[in-house]
Symmetry: C2
Subunit: 432 residues, 2 copies
Amino acid sequence: MNIRQMAMKAKTVSPQLAAVNGEQKNEALAAIAEALVRHQDEILAANQADLRSAEHDNLPAPLLKRLKFDPAKIQEAIEGLKSLQQLPNPVGTVLSGMELDKGLELFKVSCPIGVVGVIFESRPDALVQISSLCLKSGNAVLLKGGTEASRTNKVLAKLIDRATCKAGIPEGWIGLLETRADVQEMLKQDSFIDLIIPRGSNAFVGYIMDHSRIPVLGHADGICHVYVDKYADLSMAEKITLDSKCQYVAVCNAAETLLVHQDVAGAFLPKMKAVFDAHQVEQRGCERTRDIVDVLPAVKADWRTEYLDTIISIKIVDSLAQAIEHINRYGSGHTDAIVTRDAGRAETFMNRVDSADVFLNCSTRFSDGYRFGLGAEVGISTNKIHARGPVGMEGLMIYQWRLMGNGHVVSDYSGPRAKLFTHRPLKLSSPS
Amino acid sequence: MNIRQMAMKAKTVSPQLAAVNGEQKNEALAAIAEALVRHQDEILAANQADLRSAEHDNLPAPLLKRLKFDPAKIQEAIEGLKSLQQLPNPVGTVLSGMELDKGLELFKVSCPIGVVGVIFESRPDALVQISSLCLKSGNAVLLKGGTEASRTNKVLAKLIDRATCKAGIPEGWIGLLETRADVQEMLKQDSFIDLIIPRGSNAFVGYIMDHSRIPVLGHADGICHVYVDKYADLSMAEKITLDSKCQYVAVCNAAETLLVHQDVAGAFLPKMKAVFDAHQVEQRGCERTRDIVDVLPAVKADWRTEYLDTIISIKIVDSLAQAIEHINRYGSGHTDAIVTRDAGRAETFMNRVDSADVFLNCSTRFSDGYRFGLGAEVGISTNKIHARGPVGMEGLMIYQWRLMGNGHVVSDYSGPRAKLFTHRPLKLSSPS
């Protein structure tokens, strides 16, 4: 089966999958867990082969660690499947109801998006997590994991496919892509795929946004700011700036630029420099910053750079307004934080910074589905439509309008003797 | 100012516009109404010139009627502005709240999308309606109306721009495009425009979807079905089929294909044919249909054709499942109706038909923002993300995550002595 056929098949079965009830989906999730236990040896053997080949290719240690799928991680995946079973079925929730006229009732009902394509990093646990999230939300899914994990992913996808089909989920709801050429092919299937969720490298996400008509949920850049206001608690600002930059540098929600109000720059920057120096952070400052502390010069390109490294750019601003303007101009609409004791200025910042996540007096690193309490995270979105910021299962849902009549026709509501609509909101109760 | 500059300006002012409070937006809406009254003569003169030139170009009567902007229509536009003032400010609503830990509280807050590009038909009242909806929802907007209405639109856009700026709305929030070349240019401004809403001809919507990286909210086709089930009340089915096809043929929610269960085809089709004949509807049937009634033959292309005319294609299906399959294969995901007395079969139909609107025992023509009680309609969407079916002001909104801490950093929540998140849902109250 080629990718086009795989996508077509997924599209064809997606309405059946959407109609599977919550109980049956939970049974399928339990069947996946059971398969992971029963076929643990096969999974571990495939993962060993992936690891050997990655070591042979001199993959860096952190990547090897993520690639590894050992009994402990399998157990974690099983826990994840169990907690997913505890969640209510997100399909079929009545979101609103309105009587249009006597006996003519309109309901807005949650439903899956349909077919989702997910491209993810070399973590085999991600395959289990994403496919189970899609199953629970009633979405068919095409998966492409990191090439380094290909043997493990192949075994996992096969086990999930078999286990779920035995549990009555329509065959073809899950498909595994194996090569980059497969991904190219997938990007063309806009007749069959409703949404692409790319995780992983930013350049790659940008490429996908440029090369597909399918809507993309994700973020190309994470240029996050910490703004230290003139009313900031400076020792809090130090702590937050350090955490935002250094707690984990290689991620999209790490800070790349520090903005400092001119009134506190003299007091704050020398202390902050000492902290950064102690953590081996390379600092690149604007001219005014360099009048205060001895750091490297920042050039204009720095304001637009996502370092993903122990580097930070620093700029002194005249005012809150200038900080906001800088963020809206150079940021990527991901996560931006203000440190201030002034609630009014915090509100202005939040009202005017056009980013998915705006934070007060805390680290940009909190921008994460798990920390937000969303359960499993589908991805982080800098889109301006559908879903923004950390996206949980809700991002895989949409709705359908259901109108229940009893012979109602529009011609009765037009012309000189037109009937009037009542448009009376209905109390909600699930139809299923 | 060229289109790129216009879009850039709109993007720049959009965070300010997003932060304007509800009272001030209402004052600006009132100022628009006042300007329409005060400058009525100027508007009427421009509209007369548009009408003269349209008559000269032999525009059909229905189009002339839509183009006309007379004192009665101006009064209607003013009423629309008044009712918009009555609506609550949709910006800043707290949609959910969660305590992540003591003193660390997360809120999901509604906000405008940002900058919207709307392309609409030759109705000057549409310009007033769309721009006022955008203003109320805090979105900057670039507008392109039908060329026939260009003089009227120019006057209206100028009046709205002036009136709102005087009322304190940031200058540049509204821009008027005048030519098709302007539209081409707008489609390229994906750095500044967040959403395109094209109304009007289907070919045009398809063109836009193909030629822009900006997300598009709309529908290219409206291939709507009426399925007459074996448990249908046949006289109800007759009435609904007639209304769905004939109440207004030139619109996207009119039915194009009639599906009939084989068990009732013999009883239903001869009666339906008589009704269609009486209404001069051309009928194109599958072979089995033609065994029962004398109609033209349907070819495969008919199942994919949006006639927008007094033509209908008719197919006999073996089962409910076959009807669903036909709709999912050939339909456009717009609006599909089932006529049946069997609630279980209706539910199966609604669960499995992958369309924005699924209707039971009523006409497809109800698929409309006004009839749905959504207030003004932004458009009808066959997208699978963000907004589906008739879209009201809600479709112009998205949300932002706001996290309020007190020095919280992620490093405290990791490692061997990690603090735990509480993830306790908060009672909602608006922060503003």
